[in-house]
Amino acid sequence: MTVELRHYEALHRMRAFEEAIAAAVVSGEIHGEMHLGLGQEAVALALGELRRPGDAIVSTHRGNLHALAAGVDPVALLAEIIERDGLCHGKGGHMHLFDPRHDFMTTGIVGASAPIAAGYALARRRSEDERIAVAILGDGAMNQGSVAETMNLAILWTLPLVFLVEDNGWGISVAREASCAGRLVGRAEPFGMPAQQCDGRDLDAILAALGTAVDHARERGGPTLVVAEVDRFAGHYEGDTDLYRPAESKRAARAPERDPIGRLRARLADAGAEEEQLDESERRARATVEGWFTAARARPFPDERTAAEGVFA
């Protein structure tokens, strides 16, 4: 299997993963708010490709796919999301995923990922190796003061840190233009931080931009900002009626020439891949995810007697 075909299958796995979760919300298997990365898979995939063991990733409320990218056990992850005895034994849920073995965590508080990631980076800077940290943020999060504070700190301390912004153009119902003065990629400028903007729907583009940032951090050159333009296919959360966005724009986002999967498929087809081979790839991806789900559903529910335990060690 070529690298690109492997990527293609991985993108499909991510999509299938999120779609299956969406279905589990509808069926009532999952309660509470659920934020999916549908449409944003290429960024997560690039992150996973560039990640090395020991790198830390601090993600957001929209972090399922980043968890996969970080190497979190998909079955434990899913079990947690479907409220079983999973990655966090039912206590974290999809917004609070913690996997210390993979130096991965998420937070449900907008902007809170940046300072914490800076700490992971600080610890890594002190060591001799090339480990780095990545802070994931949404476009809306860029208006949270924590992010500006952390950018300044990251430059002062030459932290091996990448600020990776998944710019899907919306913070819930508020369009980026209505919430962000100026271009987001410009936010790094005052601190003298290198910054790049790229099309996060295009796997090659995000691989290149993120790769540069990651290399810069590994070489101990300091932090970088990467703003990846993506589309949020679904509502802000599952159940969001999403009427604030024009139907047309939502349709356009899913068009094959824009959809990260559609784009990669077209490129593979251009390069001579067989339709059948690609379909097979997709089927395999979906079967894999189904397998994960089956395994996750076999996990027990968390023990209610432990519910209030574990506040302190």
């Binding site: 039912g90 206590k91 508080i109 907008v110 508020v174 519910a307 335990e309």
Partner: protein
Amino acid sequence: MPAAAHRLNGSQIVARTLRAEMERDPSIIVMGEDVAQLGGVFGATRGLLGRFGADRVLDTPISETAFVGAAIGAAQSGLRPVVEIMFVDFIGVCFDQLINEMAKHRYMSGGEQTTGLVVRTAGGCIGAAGQHSQILSATLAHAPGLKVVLPATLRDLQGLLVAALRDPDPVVIIEHKRLLKATAETLAFGAPVEDLDAPEPIEIGRLQRVRDGADLTIVASGFMSQLAWEAAVELERSTGRSVGVVDLRTISPLDRAGLLREAPAAPRMLVVDEDYGAFGVCAEVMAVLAEGLGRDAPLMGRLAPSSPVPASARLESAVVPSAVSIAERAALLLA
């Protein structure tokens, strides 16, 4: 309850109340994340942008410190801001503006500076885990200078909001998500919502006894009062004991006189809270009674979470008080 009103849920009642008050008082402005275009993630500001325009209904960036602080400055310039912090869980990012600024300007200015504004914020459990399920009423009430109210009924949602909009001090209204989504028929108790267009205020700082009972009093606030009522009914049914319910309505300033007045009605008292138990509302209620009544205080117990709220629905219901767990705890006190 008029035909129109009884079908409305809590969010719709909030929106209607804001509308009526904004018609009355042109100094009222509404600001927060997703409040304008969308009308609020719970719909509690729906229709206001269309009616009052972008000058009075403002979507904000996700910058709670900036816009909560801005509400303070605007209030001190004669406006009456209603600022929405989407979930009370997010007060952490703007806590300084809440407790060191908003709460203290009157006191620190020796009474010269008035900061009249309303903070509306959603609280309570809907299966969203540790950072989206909190109440934090005691966190806010512990800081002197903030009035903190927790409506338990649709009418209280309306009347306390009206009172807050006419109060000279900053008032934080913690609106329970389940109340925002509830219609009258789904609630255990509550006065009808009478007049949507000229809503009457309900006095801030006064508790209400919502149910008489001679054997045990349950004291609660917000949506917990609804569950307390359900528990009281169930207890009376199953044990034949008579159980009253006192709804605090206001957490700060706490109605100490009201508590001292109501406590003697029954020899036992269970204090219930959805906010964390330690250093929380239950403790304050118990301390007021222990200090105020000494040996005449009722025998007291409390029920409140001792941990963050877990994600899984099963675990959540083991941490957060329910009608069932309230009844169980009350039964222990009665035994």
